[in-house]
Symmetry: C2
Subunit: 217 residues, 2 copies
DNA sequence: CCATACCGACCGACGGTCGGTCGGTGGCGG
DNA sequence: CCGCCACCGACCGACCGTCGGTCGGTATGG
């Protein structure tokens, strides 16, 4: 009658838990997801979960770390491709959003505990992606398509504001502003990185990156 | 022996609760502060707190709203002063940090629930201050000291990244980066708003705004 | 046979609720 | 002008359900 205890290698079980938790966290919010919920979804007992993770918070941290690592790998690949600098620049940005749709999706509802999730993700993303993207910009500066004295700093500023302003889990109820903000951020990037005005916007449009057609406002 | 029940007008009691909660939240973190703690600090019973607030979360929201309103008032005053545009621009930024030291201070410790607090503050600040600051920039554009086609958008981007990058409750353990980031943000502001390079930096230095001396990096 | 993975009853703390109490105030009859 | 009383906003604290986390013990498989 007992459903037969199944044992798995720790790494795999860890991933199972992370998968379930990620789905639930993004679906109904971190606070609103109980450990019990995760247990039921994975099909394990409480003790098992706490055998693999020290706390609920560590699970959240685990999701963010895992996702960030995946994105960083993809970003690195894109950054190292033999494409034009502008293509690679936009490609890295795309890698951030494309690979993490799970993080950006759903949970339009109530707040507590969710902004936390989003902001931690953003911070980790900025930390991980800034050096990669700055490298691309530096190459752009070297070849003349970009022009700035502080690539790393400007990239950091751009990534931070991008992460915040395009996340509707943070600026609640302003999802309709996202196209405007996307255009504004591209415009800001052009200015800050000193590339030909409109160069990023048109390239973004060609790459079919959302809301990247016109001027801001 | 019973300490005699003291009754106050609701508004005042509300403020008392907000005061205590703000002190505790910033001291030991939102999550780590129990409702019980607040009760003890204010010297009231649980029912009383829940007579004035619907939930712990509403208290947090109340603190943020109150602080934002105060800052907005001060920012408005500064923006309307008969000073040079650049002075007023920096003055508004200063108003944000000066008037909200309670929000930025302390609680270097453990994470959960605190980033939430900070990020909500930042979002509200951006919402409240953007129009005020954009107005100043527009005046600057009109008189020629600034030059940008999208004042509102650029201000929004600047405020967002400022809020994030200068808050050590968000980028944990990077407090030492703040001077560098301050300089970078000023530099970015100069570029985005199209004012004379170094104009903001020197003015900031004259106004004794922290870490605003040299170029970025 | 021993480490590793797993189980689930149990615990204490916490956020939130609820029935009820207290003190001041305004109206009204005397 | 006084005293009574109905009313009401503010206040109280015992109580409850839920939740994150613990622990002693058990199955599995190398």
């Amino acid at each position: 009658m007992t459903p037969a205890r199944i044992s798995k290698p720790a790494a795999q079980r860890r991933d199972d838990i992370l998968d379930a938790a990620q789905r639930l966290f993004t679906t109904k919010g971190v606070q609103a997801t109980s450990v019990e919920d995760i247990l039921q979804d994975v099909g394990i007992a409480k003790g098992t979960l706490y055998y693999h993770f020290r706390s609920k918070d560590e699970i959240l941290q685990g999701i963010i770390t895992r996702t960030t690592e995946r994105v960083a790998v993809k970003a690195r690949q894109v950054a190292d491709r033999p494409d034009p600098v502008i293509t690679r620049f936009l490609g890295v940005l795309a890698a951030m959003r494309v690979d993490a749709p799970e993080l950006a999706l759903a949970e339009t509802l109530h707040g507590p505990g969710n902004a936390e999730f989003h902001v931690l993700s953003i911070v980790e993303m900025v930390r991980a992606i800034t050096p990669i993207l700055a490298e691309v910009v530096e190459q752009g500066v070297a070849e003349g398509s970009f022009s700035t004295e502080h690539p790393q700093d400007m990239v950091e500023i751009l990534l931070t504001s991008m992460g915040m302003l395009l996340d509707d889990g943070i600026f609640r109820g302003e999802a309709d502003q996202i196209p405007r903000r996307t255009a504004a951020l591209i415009s800001a990037a052009e200015t800050l990185l000193g590339c030909r005005p409109g160069a990023l916007a048109t390239a973004a449009h060609d790459m079919r990156i959302a809301g990247a057609t016109g001027g801001a406002r």
